[in-house]
Symmetry: C2
Subunit: 340 residues, 2 copies
Amino acid sequence: MVDNKSKVTILDIAEKAQVSASTVSRVLRNSAVVAEEKRDAVMQAIAELDYRPNIFAQSLASGQSMTIGVLTQNFGSPFYDGILQGILLGLEDSEYWPLFADGRWQPTIEQQALDLLLDRRVDGIIVIGGQISEEILQKVAAKVPLLVVARQLQTMPNNCLYLDNFQAAYQVTKYLLDMGHRDIAHLTASVVYQETVNDIQQRYRGYQQALRDAGLEPDPRLVVEGNLQQQSGVLAVEMLLSRGRPFSAIFTANDQMAFGARLALYRRGIRVPEDVSLMGFDDESSAAYMVPPLTTARQPSVPLGQVAAQAILQMMNGRPPELPVFAAELIIRESVSRHR
Amino acid sequence: MVDNKSKVTILDIAEKAQVSASTVSRVLRNSAVVAEEKRDAVMQAIAELDYRPNIFAQSLASGQSMTIGVLTQNFGSPFYDGILQGILLGLEDSEYWPLFADGRWQPTIEQQALDLLLDRRVDGIIVIGGQISEEILQKVAAKVPLLVVARQLQTMPNNCLYLDNFQAAYQVTKYLLDMGHRDIAHLTASVVYQETVNDIQQRYRGYQQALRDAGLEPDPRLVVEGNLQQQSGVLAVEMLLSRGRPFSAIFTANDQMAFGARLALYRRGIRVPEDVSLMGFDDESSAAYMVPPLTTARQPSVPLGQVAAQAILQMMNGRPPELPVFAAELIIRESVSRHR
DNA sequence: CTGTTAGCGCATTCAT
DNA sequence: ATGAATGCGCTAACAG
């Protein structure tokens, strides 16, 4: 169809530089020592003719595509986008280029996206979150180096890079306890969701453990399940209020639900933090601009992505990847006040 | 390096189906009529051997890559991510697959990213926003079908898809006027930024025109330049207050600055909307959960992306693309009150 | 309608 | 150190 590409091929370079195509290829890939003068001649010819190697020919001949498939879930989610940025950074001075696919949190689509990446002969795959079964991931891993980010897999711990969500949620809850709160509500996500996205479950557990360590028994009436969207935060607070069980603080499993919760409290005329303290999780960029600014836990998503990129590169080199467990950092802002 | 791909080739299929490779290719691409029985045999062989064509061989032989390059600016920006989602949707049932590159709003990086896309022999390119010069874009357009989204180019109007920002800002301002406001401040972006991102300039003009049409002369003391980031909204409001020129409403060129403005007002004890009304632009997802919810203008970013995808497909088919000018929709929420 | 014949542009032996 | 030869897997004329 379109075919006005630079028709300059390796042969044109060879001719202009008075060498063979093989030699040009060698200086291109740096795959063997080439006499300096010839190398220079080649370089010059390349510059003069503005030669760009044909990636398809390269890939076909070499068997490598120099691309890394990245399966994400919905562009537009702050946390995941941060990871993408990190991957971009981490790949920056490698020879590899990321190929993105969007799974939209739907296993079927994730599956298709994975197939597409495989069809594109990616040299490695980074899967970010998602709900696709471990079984399928195992099969993929058998074909190509695979790294799963922001999700903890039971069966392949050496292919995962994640955050210590338990510990982070524990800290969040402990902070509220330290501020004198005893009746701390928690907005989590429904069990269905938790089964695949372990993170949320871990946060719930961290919350419970912190309470127990403080000598308090978790009260189920203080826990509401949402779906991680903002709107569900609104509904969850309504639900909470309707239960009549008093509380002085709310800890939501993600910032988005905290935004919703904040709005619901506002609508009810409940002041934050004077009447109720609020804590989120994720440190989305708008959290700092909430009124009042939201206390939350920062997940280092960009570094996560960067490390992920490095790790997959290591895997492709046959080395075992370095897989640190990331910790979250508490971001103290005005949405929490001392109780009593 | 990695080479455990399905080594099944077109020849294996040919053999198993008792036909020639060409025939297999023909049923694969549907490029010619094939006897039904042979077609079935081929299909079956493909299924049984789980054959996946090698994309590189295909591209090398056909000259098409079946990919569309998408140059975006920073993953994580709500508006741009919306466009990405739209593109994904619009490409869904085409044979094309998007290849994303990130320009980070830096002309040099944008340039590199474009080169990379070109190297990957994309069949078409969609550029979202960005600051890269029109001159360069023209050169790119000479090589491959090019569509520029969310940016209005002087020299190539038939390659652009954008929103009528002037009209939208006019509406926003008129709404405030209708609500009785006369002293309306505006947060825009610095001139440097405006030169490349025309949108912001258009919004500024729409604001001015609406005032004039209402018989008011725009007051430069009511205009502050930020950089579109949240933090600049905070500073801009500080600046505004320090000038001592009274105002009863603020219209920010984007929601992010409105978030910052909201925080600054909160810190100063100025109530929204009782003391000052606030309007944003973009309808980012958090705008609805601001306290109080932000009145703003919705830019249909997902539809924009979808139409962009269709348009580039049309261009690649040699047809002139349909390029509607999108209009923004006013989203009325509680951050604006009637004046006096 | 179908098989045969040539490449597509490059990487990689194998000689030298 | 370098050139010649071969093939990566597929598509696209070309005959028939």
